[in-house]
Symmetry: C2
Subunit: 269 residues, 2 copies
Amino acid sequence: MSYGKIYLVGTGPGDVELITVKGYKLICEADVILHDHLIPSELLRLAKPSAEIISVGKFAGRHTMPQLQINKLLIEKARDNKVVVRLKGGDPLLFGRGGEEAEECVQAGVDFEFVPGITSALAAPCYGGIPPTHRDCTSNIAIVTGHRKNEKEIEIPKAGTIIFLMGVANIGTIIKSLLEAGWPGQTKIAAIEKGTCYDQRVIQGTLDDFLEVTQKAKLRTPAIFIVGKVVELKEKLDWFGKKPRILLPGTHPDKYRHLGIIIHRPLIK
Amino acid sequence: MSYGKIYLVGTGPGDVELITVKGYKLICEADVILHDHLIPSELLRLAKPSAEIISVGKFAGRHTMPQLQINKLLIEKARDNKVVVRLKGGDPLLFGRGGEEAEECVQAGVDFEFVPGITSALAAPCYGGIPPTHRDCTSNIAIVTGHRKNEKEIEIPKAGTIIFLMGVANIGTIIKSLLEAGWPGQTKIAAIEKGTCYDQRVIQGTLDDFLEVTQKAKLRTPAIFIVGKVVELKEKLDWFGKKPRILLPGTHPDKYRHLGIIIHRPLIK
């Protein structure tokens, strides 16, 4: 019996050109693509005309496909002798459940490969002008998911820079936990909304006023938070914020499509 | 006066296909490339015939160019109206001194951009069959540099998974610091040497025996260490270790060149 193969591929954080060459090539070769909603949608245009493309992520109003069903579908398609590419935003193994899907492959006897992606945890600060590390600031960083079921408190590792993923809904708890862990109220914190996308926003405050500031700014998901001395470097290193806002393919929500905005930089030829 | 521009680009961890499409295109367009030694060397073949390629990294026996001189050269080339690409292994902002080089650009009034790269901190575990996070194991990770001057102790953040970069020379101190931070001696720890390269090695032990195990295995730099419950997933998820060892362009040390090993997978056409 001949089985196909499942590639668990990270697409990177949003800027379509931040996908890896390996991921790019696999999308071109895929027979079946299962994708989350937080991927640069332009990447799907790379697929073969015969490719089957299945959205398993949340779209306006529609529900996400349950994880068990995703697992089942992955295995089913691979057993059909297909090259199956499972696309996930960011990196598949950093709070991306790639490990769980790989376990399913092992259990079903289907070959799999991981293809890492650029995580928004590091790339969003980078596009926000905030280096996650700097020799003058810290010798370690921590990355924390702000999205855990049934958790009232968020455990705060003692690190020089802390980055929170998927924390928009839990922002109050995150701030409270940071203050309780001993971070001073005057500590600078930044939110990077839609990091690396042309409509990225960086919203800054201190732990004392951040809840108010983000409410006023109507901060929306997806966003990451970064806290630590490195946030102070933003004023100096804000390269992306100073660029003209160029709509790149794949970095825009579908609602802008009808505006017919000219795409300035083509995807790889 | 017209100035060029400096791109601070991460090449990813070693597997040549883990560079981003953005980084790939910039290498093709560069007038000048300044590169570290830990980059997939095959990438340099993408450069224009007229490009000036300058190694500023450590090569057998030769010294590294001092950081001040690298900064000076970057600015000088950009002022000469060149497209300057500064290539760094991994990600330029995760212990990569990219922030410092960007500060030099700002001071000199030269435009710059960051281009994130896949960090070995996350990709090496991924190729080692160890997901840095897993829902059953941890809601946070910490990444620590094991390479700090004049440090006797390494500060250990309290996190479910800890990854150490550049720690081979300080392995004794790292283990001692972990034990002092309360990690049990029986905790599993893995070293991933030359992560994502065709000759990657994964060396496993416990905190109690790891120093001995790595000495016996003659562990060499570059390597990352990963410690935490996720290490136990390796046996199940070791996809890369089960693949045939395929020599990819850019993933092999120069010493293998004379063996004339056939390259199985070409770089992007």
